[in-house]
Symmetry: C2
Subunit: 334 residues, 2 copies
């Protein structure tokens, strides 16, 4: 941990410390990964072989469904069972305004002294390499650090955020009873990625009816495969009801998560792991190519090509082929 | 328009028809672009030089702010002035459930017989090339077809959706009075991309106060540049109040859009056009590389590389470098 100047040495020291329980080193690794500093690559190379054991659980849903409250309740349940849990909360708030946190997160501060709970907020914006890739890297760090369950909380209203949740081993889609029309539309898109559907605020009127509606929607969409699938989903998602604020139904949710994990050790689990791997590899590959194109001697020519497209003097296909040629790759058909 | 088998010929015919007023051909081109069929590339190559004249206006905001109602009101205002307008509505609903449309869109059907209004819904999910790229291509089609104003409506709660809005020449962020805490957090992120901020539902209590709060937030963030900027934003966004349902303030909003367009003919406009160009070029370049990597003879080796990452036998950086080498590109440092 001495201030070595070499990123490879520093990364090795940080990984050694983080994987033996040092939480400050863990936090530094997450910062490096999130901001893609010079430490990110050597750190991930070092820790990647130690990861692959955690159960990655995505929790997503529209604003107001009670995601943070449910995450807090799950933490409580897991800690009662003596299980270590980490949370990556992908926050929709601005990096500029300092990432004001959701009110519910305050209650998680009661775990401040607990070494087996680790909570991390990440900004949803400004990730050049893509949100799915950054989140995948963060879960790999927490996985290598020995957390057996990593919860990834996202607001499920955007494409990237839903992709993040869908790359989890188990994806939980949260709904609240009686939401408006526009939210219904979002819900339909979300259901496609669900392994488990949870109607939260189960004490509100309409919870049972919402659960029944959701079950009907899931029956209607039948064994519909996920968009990128080559196999049908193993089985229709269960619909559970929780009241996170009181803890009702939370133990049952945890049991359902564990069942899904056990059942997904075969094909479905591979698919989630492949999706995470692909997001990370493509992000790195794209970043390397981008570095090459805007590297010394090429910056100006790339800029000129893009400016020609912006001015409609060149079409974007011709521009892409021009850039590929500069990388030494002959375009497919020309 | 005869059923030529050659995509290049068919694309040329469709573009010729669409740019001289044939709406069915226009609809077909948009479908080709959205689904990335074999027609997409030749069509965009053909029409791209004819585009670049339209004013692209992004309209974004949280669910429930009244985006669709405002879009309908803007269409009415534009048509009263004899101006042609197209709308691309990026819909958060599922492709599987058939893209149930928002209730407000029904009122736009009153323009069904009007050749100078064209409304198109696009699914937000499942765009391999990225939402920003697909939307950019769709606006190029409508631009080439002669619409002087193209409105792009997105639900501004996800990263991709906000990027889409931010790639417009003018980005309007819509808010409703008195929204909850979680929505406040989203708002902060949205404000960064705003050229104009509109508090809709101006007849509701709290509209004036919300506008005042937003002005204060904008003053606090000062001349803060956008994340990808190398120049400060030309000036602080105006905050307007509309009541889209009655039409109050809509004429003033249109005037503000026109003023922003006139003022942005210099640097700020270039930036938006460059962002759209870059999104499209990178999406095509990535798609070409992906085709190469999963092309004949490479499918299995790519799959094996990704599986090794999924199993944590290989780290994602090593995998990216392996794929780059297969493309004939020597990795940066090795």
């Amino acid at each position: 941990m001495a201030g070595s100047a070499d990123p490879v040495d520093r990364a090795r020291d940080l990984v050694a410390a983080a994987t033996t329980g040092d939480r400050r080193s863990l936090a530094r690794l997450l910062t490096a990964v999130e901001n893609r500093t010079a430490l990110a690559e050597p750190a991930l190379r070092e820790l990647y072989p130690r990861a692959g054991k955690a159960h990655i659980v995505g929790i997503t849903g529209p604003p107001g469904a009670g995601k943070s409250t449910l995450v807090a309740a799950l933490i409580g349940e897991l800690r009662s069972a003596g299980r270590a849990v980490a949370v990556v909360a992908v926050d929709p708030s601005s990096p500029i305004t300092g990432g004001a946190l959701l009110g519910d997160r305050v209650r998680m501060q009661s775990y401040a002294g607990d070494r087996d709970v680790f909570i991390r907020s990440m900004a949803a914006r400004g990730h050049a390499g893509g949100l799915a890739s950054t989140t995948g890297a963060a879960t790999a760090v927490l996985d290598a650090a020995g957390f057996e369950l990593v919860l990834v909380e996202t607001v499920g209203t955007g494409q990237s955020e839903v992709e993040v949740a869908a790359a989890a081993d188990t994806t939980v889609v949260l709904e609240a009873p009686e939401m408006g029309d526009e939210v219904q539309a979002i819900k339909a898109g979300l259901l496609e990625v669900a392994d488990l559907v949870v109607v939260n605020k189960g004490d509100k009127p309409g919870a049972q009816r919402t659960a029944a509606q959701l079950r009907a929607m899931l029956v209607a969409s039948g064994g519909q495969p996920r968009p990128t699938d080559d196999r049908p989903r193993p089985k229709r998602p269960e619909v559970l009801i929780t009241t996170a604020a009181t803890g009702a139904g939370v133990a049952e949710l945890l049991a359902a998560l564990d069942r899904h994990r056990a059942a997904a050790q075969d094909g479905a689990g591979d698919r989630a792991r492949l999706a995470r791997a692909e997001a990370q590899v493509w992000a790195i590959l794209s970043e390397r190519l981008r570095d090459r194109l805007v590297g010394p001697g090429l910056t100006e020519s790339t800029r000129a090509t893009l400016a020609a497209v912006a001015d409609h003097r060149l079409d974007p296909y011709a521009a892409a082929d021009e850039l590929l040629r500069r990388l030494g790759i002959e375009p497919p058909h020309d």
